[in-house]
Amino acid sequence: MERLIEKWQDKISEVTIGAKKPIKIGGETGIYFIDGEDKCPNPPRVAMEVWDMDPEAWPEALRSSFGKALNDPVEWAKLCADKFSADLICLRLASTHPDTKNTSREEAGKVVENILKVISVPLIVIGSSAPEKDNDVMAYCANVAKGENCLFGIATQNNYKTLAAACLSSGHSIISEAPIDINIAKQLNILICDMQFQADRIVIHHATGALGYGLEYTYSIMERTRLAGLSGDKMLSMPMINFVGQEAWRTKEAKTGQKDTGVLWETATATAYLNSGADIIVMNHPKAVEEIKKTVHRLKA
């Protein structure tokens, strides 16, 4: 029997990130990894997470891969880019949170600047999830990174204006996040675009759930988003990102299980998201990163 191959009327927008060695994500005209339909010019990419402070809560199984680099974000970023072949670096400015070190925007800006000096792969910068402080820090950092074509996050329905304005004036792309709600995701994209932001500078995040911790919900919302985008909904036709590392390593299994459990958990979660249409997967453990890069390769072949 002849196989029915779905023809989609639209394509996912293509977002370019980075200045020295820019990469493209998105641009799909079909569903990933479905034989015959997977017209995906840009394969999914793996970003590795770097903190601007020692992530003390990380389990030993994860910490041991980075050693002393955990205390030096620049070294850590270099390690990820050079040794672990991360496609992108995702800098989390955790130290700026008022409940951690409450570091100033100037200090955060310095870290961004120094990392940009030593890496050639594109940079993602996200805040500390303290809305008011983030607005201050991210606006400053966006300006520091002007011209570097980074991906900044995270814009939410209740807090998007400052970040969007900063990205707009410094030429960065933006991550727009909605709490597993396709309507809110679309509404937020509309609000950002109504600020004269280009649609092809937006990457969607639907809140990531780890395996066993809500993965299915995110998975199906991502599928719906992708199908809507391919069917012509311009406000949902953006590439998607998942923060798999932080979620996988937060699970009880990863924290208390056998040595390899965390890596397996992260790998399994990331593999699922690849299939749901993720374009960037942010990960933590080098071993899991390696596995996922192999998987992308295999799936493509």
């Binding site: 329905q157 309507n183 679309k186 509309i190 609000l191 675009c193 109504d194 909904d233 406000m235």
Partner: protein, 647 residues
């Protein structure tokens, strides 16, 4: 138990209450009506009063601001006296006059609320009335009976019934009660065998309701009543000439026990709750009838029929039927098709033998007011697909044509009646009903062109549309920063001052804040989703709808363009929308004048299917998509897309 004297200012009415009784209850006892929408649960924050003298215990409430607290503001429902007290009821907490609106100036107050009698007479309703053959609920016929002789020796009652049948060949079965027969021998002989018989249409049979001496066939009157959750409206109708002789409206005093039907059903479960609710509505209906007949110099005996249209809960409360099971699964009312009864049985004061009919209900959440509305709109008579929207608290939507009808209740909330908004009021004198922004200036137009007191439903629709068009708010309803308008922070939400205190009638700024806008977005989203779900269930498209009938409280003053702009109404040509005003009373009147219309109403109720939105799988998803201005999917609103220039 210790008693305290509570005096309410400025009316200077006093009452003695026990320790532990709250001030809202005390006010009710003095028949001072303090605005509240939660029935005294301390939730709505509407019953603010100012303590002038005396000691009291009050529960803290986030509804009272720090500044208000310093001025002595408390929530009446959460405050109990510890000594004699003097309480000032501020203007904004007054429910307004409950007296009947006899004077012309007072009648104007409801001008924005209800279509004037003349308009109803001239417009569609007249056309509708013509469709149905004249045949009122009760008819009076003058009879000259042949005098009995030895040869013509049938009994008095048989003689009377025989004569009626001779005149009305269509009547098959006719009945007469014992009390009438008892009166008959004397009455016939004293009147010289010339009597007027009132025949009533009672549940498909004909009954001799009343026999009077002489010719009184031209003295036959009826009353059509709309029992709304918020307002009660009555028309006095000459059943012979079919003319409306007068109309009167009054607030539904049940509002004192809760603003929506659910809180009233709950109140009915309290001790004597059902009785209180029943008396509240009956007293109002009786007062309305009384004042209507006095105006045209009639007596209660001249009124032989009353027809009421109300939602299912209102109908239950009118008849003093416990509505408890309406809100319990599987949501079954005591009665949908209420038989015609004697008005006196329900406590409605007209001719003691007069009849009371209720428009049939469809189910627990779609009632006789909607059946009346469909009847008045005539949508059940035409081939084209029509949509009927009742912009009230329940927000019922009906889709269909002469073949089929489908309805749902969207629970839109009290927004369109000014409820749940910081500066919201009902459509009364001084309510802002239209607003425009030109050259950065906000211009408000009020009902009666008086200094503004607050914003009513149609005003709120206009405001949101104007704010959106002028990019003062974004499509999620958030107020953007700008320096032109008076924008400030208010308890964590931004608000815009529309009218400054010095220009208002209440000496307070009239504002709209982000929470108000959010409330309206939820209400309009519910109605729009109701429309969408009905269309989807019927497998039809928006463009298939040829007529949209809008009924309810804000109908006459509603700006269609604004309503489309905010996504309340579907984006269809403006000429397809028809305002009908209060269709509930119009439909009731039609049924009062024609038994054929009543049959049509029953057909409508039988034909209409009810769709429970809570069981619809697509409702929640569609609803969250509708919580945006005008909608998450702008392609559904092409004309608005052009105006807003958005994606």
């Amino acid at each position: 138990m210790e008693e305290f004297k509570i005096t309410f200012l400025p009316e200077n009415k006093s009452v003695h209450i026990d320790r532990g009784t709250d001030l809202l209850t005390a006010a009710l006892k003095t028949s001072i009506h303090i605005y509240n929408s939660c029935g005294g649960e301390g939730v709505c924050g509407r019953c603010k009063v100012i303590v002038k003298k005396g000691d009291y215990i009050t529960e803290g409430s986030g509804r009272i601001t720090e500044i208000e607290r310093e001025k002595g503001y408390v929530l009446a429902c959460r405050t109990t006296p510890e000594s004699d007290m003097e309480i000032l009821v501020p203007e904004e907490s007054m429910l307004g006059d409950l007296e009947i609106l006899t004077e012309e100036i007072k009648a104007k107050r409801l001008a924005g609320l209800y279509t004037p009698v003349e308009e109803i007479e001239e417009e569609r309703h007249k056309a509708t009335a013509k469709i149905f053959k004249h045949g009122p609920l009760s008819t009076k016929i003058f009879l000259k009976l042949p005098n009995p002789t030895i040869d013509d020796n049938s009994g008095d009652a048989d003689r009377l019934l025989g004569e009626i049948k001779k005149r009305h060949k269509e009547i098959n079965i006719i009945q007469m009660g014992l009390s009438n027969i008892k009166k008959l021998p004397r009455l016939l002989r004293e009147s010289g065998w010339e009597v007027t018989a009132t025949i009533g249409n009672r549940n498909k049979t004909t009954e001799v309701v009343l026999i009077e001496s002489g010719d009184r066939s031209k003295k036959n009157f009826g009353v059509a009543v709309d029992i709304g959750t918020t307002t009660i409206v009555a028309y006095l109708v000459d059943l012979d000439s079919q003319k409306v002789l007068g109309s009167k409206a009054s607030y539904n005093p049940q509002v004192d026990f809760g603003e929506d039907v659910i809180s009233r059903i709950i109140f009915a479960q309290h001790e004597k709750g059902l009785e209180k609710l029943h008396h509240a509505v009956i007293d109002t209906v009786n007062t309305l009838i009384d004042s209507l007949i006095k105006e045209v110099k009639l007596t209660l005996d001249d009124v032989t029929a009353v027809i009421c249209a109300g939602n299912t809960t209102m109908t239950h409360l009118l008849l003093k039927i416990d509505p408890a099971y309406i809100r319990k699964e599987p949501y079954i009312p005591a009665v949908n098709f209420m038989p015609v009864i004697r008005a006196a049985e329900a406590g409605v004061k007209i001719n003691p033998r007069g009849l009371l009919a209720c428009l049939p209900c469809i189910g627990s959440y779609v009632g006789g007011d909607i059946v009346a509305g469909v009847l008045a709109s005539g949508m059940d008579k035409i081939k084209d697909l029509s949509l009927f929207i009742d912009l009230g608290t329940n927000g019922e939507v009906v889709l269909g044509n002469k073949e089929w009808l489908m309805s749902c209740s969207t629970s839109a909330g009290p927004c369109f009646e000014g409820g749940g908004l910081k500066s919201g009021i009902r459509a009364m004198k001084g309510a802002i009903q239209n607003i425009s922004i030109k050259n950065n200036l906000i211009k408000c137009q009020t009902i009666g062109d008086l200094p503004p007191k607050g914003i009513c439903g149609s005003g709120i629709v206009d405001i949101i549309s104007e704010l959106l068009k002028n990019k003062i708010i974004d499509r999620s309803g958030k107020i953007k920063n700008n320096k032109i308008y008076n924008i400030r922070d208010s308890e964590g939400a931004k608000e815009i001052v529309l009218v400054e205190a010095k220009d208002s009638a209440i000496n307070k700024d009239i504002t709209i804040d982000e929470n108000d806008i959010k409330n309206l977005i939820h209400s309009k989203g519910a109605i729009y989703t109701g429309i969408e779900v009905l269309l989807k269930e019927a497998g039809l498209k928006k463009s298939d709808i040829k007529h949209i009938f809008i009924a309810g409280g804000l109908g006459t003053a509603l700006n269609i363009r604004s309503a489309i702009n905010i996504g309340l109404l579907p984006d269809l040509p403006e000429e397809n929308f028809v305002f009908l005003g209060n269709t509930s009373v119009a439909g009731a009147k039609t049924c009062l004048l024609s038994s054929e219309a009543m049959e049509a109403a029953e057909t409508i109720a039988n034909k209409m299917t009810y769709l429970d939105l809570s069981t619809s799988a697509s409702f929640m998803n569609n609803y969250s998509a509708a919580l945006f201005l005008p909608h998450t999917d702008i392609e559904m609103f092409p004309s608005v897309k052009k105006i807003l220039n958005t994606v």
